[in-house]
Amino acid sequence: MSTPAPKGLAREITQFDTRDAARRTIGTVFAVVCFSATVVGIVFLGVLLSDIWKDGAHRLSGTFMSGFPSYLPVRAGIKPALLGSLWTLGLTAVISFPIGVGTAIWLEEYAPDNRFTKFVQTNIANLAGVPSIVYGILGLTVFVRLLNFGNSILAGALTLALLILPVIIISSQEAIKAVPNSISLGAYALGATRWETVRFHVLPQAMPGVLTGTILALSRAIGEAAPMIMIGAAAYIGFSPRGPLDQFTVIPIQIYNWTSMPQVAFHELAAAGSIVLLAALLTLNAAAILLRNKYSRRY
């Protein structure tokens, strides 16, 4: 840039250099802004987790884990909610897994390429965007009232199963799509029927992906409060649920109730409940990540 040049050109070069420097400064500023934006989310997450921990950690104790809800904060515990969540989660998994995977298999391996299939696929994509409280309205009307299951674990699990079904279907479809064509062609060539091919060749290969997607979907279900409020998961449950037709509550509802109390001590219990819930989520997600890492080397 510093070679001798005619006067007019020299001025233009200087101008170019100034503008170039400005453009580079803008570029640096922009990079910093983008980086900071990314950091904002992470910092927020850190603040949130540390705030919850600070508020609630000292409430975590044997009494808290094994106690029942109480008007006395010292004696209040999360046991019925914890058991309720586990019951609901288990039942939700049992209901949604076969239906979700079955739908994915049908769409990927069986469905003819016509408008009906396309409609089913679009419909699933749209269901994934329906607000969870609308599923709650459906659950309240159909499962609680129409089928007369009452405010039971079964009604809750059915509602949650419908809620997470689109997530399971879509992730299972991805997993099935990722299985190389050569495997099913090989099976067909050996005379396997369609179902034998799916059952013994495609599905085993797709299973890690299917399970990962299902676990992530279940981790959404365990944190849902809105549909549970709708179907009437009760505030105070003074007993441990014993079967699918029992009344129940779940951890998110328990947290919500404690949050709504005026006394600070209950807010601390809400934070402690949140820690338990986040720990459960962490466990589920860790399981999903382990599964993915263990099997992701194929193909």
Binding site: L48, D55, V120, G129, P131, I137
Partner: protein, 342 residues
């Protein structure tokens, strides 16, 4: 799972085989349960053994039945909402419902104007968008254009944790951390207010914007970037004038989806924004959203079958219609961008 899987060495070399669709030779557009017969037609010259054939047909029907569940879910949602809403709208004029400025169905005299709930939802969703859209897009640009692979592989999952945190926990945080913090700057702020809910919800939907936008940005062909660089563009210019415009439809789709998600969110607003249906655009005031109203009524003692009870279906129908339309627009926009680059 209980049979050994075929071990095919070197499958990476078989990639071209995947290009062909995994569809067995079959007559097109035949319904699922007809497999047994089809297999005979193209089969080995001898029909399948009866039991095997019956099982094949049975499995086809069962899988079709599973797929029908999602259709019945949609029918159920639409049916339930419409059925109860029709009863509701026989007593309340739909025009008055959509344009009325007072929402007080649980008090005398009753008012059924949904506008306060609608503006409550929109106020909070737009506040959340004001946070999530710029931050999410900037994060996406950072992740797609600037970050090293290793940084991205750590930052992306951490950001996605934000989307996985239960909304009650966010609600707790909005009420007991964000609101007290805001009170230092705005002493007149209501104990329950739209602003805290907006901020927290904004952060919650950041990962939605950032990861969907990043997918769109990463899908922009390398050649476009190289071309811009060859013309002397700086990295900033490449990112903002080439990559983002090229991925614009994907970015916009992520925006719409995120806002739709914010409108449908329930727990944060129920906990932090309050239960007063006020028609206001002041974020420091307490507002009630459509979702918060539905949750409030379902907790109360409103008898089943009354007009008050049916309000949740009318409000639910409004909510469902809004989110559905936004999702449809988002899908349409996204489909358009896929056509361009694939």
């Amino acid at each position: 799972m209980d049979r050994s899987q075929p071990q095919l060495p070197n499958d990476s070399e078989r990639a071209p085989a995947e290009a062909t669709a995994r569809v067995m030779p079959q007559s097109p557009a035949s319904p699922a349960p007809a497999f047994g017969r089809q297999r005979q037609e193209r089969g080995l010259g001898r029909p399948m053994a009866g039991a095997r054939q019956r099982r094949e047909r049975g499995v086809g029907w069962v899988l079709l039945g599973f797929s029908a569940v999602s259709i019945f879910t949609t029918l159920g949602i639409v049916g339930v909402l419409l059925y109860e809403s029709i009863w509701f709208f026989q007593e309340v004029n739909p025009i008055r419902f959509l344009t009325g400025k007072t929402w007080a169905p649980l008090f005398q005299p009753q008012h059924f104007g949904v506008l306060p709930l609608l503006t409550g939802s929109l106020l909070i969703a737009l506040g959340a968008a004001a946070i999530a859209l710029p931050i999410g897009l900037a994060s996406a640009i950072y992740l797609a254009e600037y970050a090293h692979d290793r940084v991205r592989s750590i930052v992306k999952p951490v950001l996605e944790v934000l989307a996985g945190i239960p909304t009650v926990v966010y609600g707790y945080f909005a009420l007991f951390f964000v609101t007290p913090l805001l009170r230092r700057f705005f002493p007149e702020i209501d104990p329950f207010n739209a602003l805290s809910a907006s901020i927290v919800m904004g952060v919650m939907i950041i990962p939605m914007v950032s990861s969907l936008s990043e997918d769109a940005l990463s899908a922009v062909p390398r050649a476009l970037r190289e071309g811009a660089y060859a013309l002397g563009a700086t990295k900033f210019e490449v990112a903002t004038r080439t990559v983002v415009p090229a991925a614009l439809s994907g970015v916009i789709a992520s925006f719409i989806l995120a806002i739709s998600r914010a409108i449908g969110e329930t727990m944060i607003v129920t906990i932090a924004a309050g239960a007063q249906a006020t028609l206001t655009l002041n974020p420091l005031r307490s507002v009630q959203t459509m979702t918060a109203y539905i949750a409030q009524v379902s907790q109360g003692e409103v008898p089943h079958g009354t007009l008050e009870y049916r309000t949740i279906f009318a409000v639910g129908l409004t909510l469902f219609a809004i989110t559905l339309i936004m999702n449809l627009i988002s899908n349409r926009v996204l489909a358009k961008y896929r056509e361009v680059y694939e």
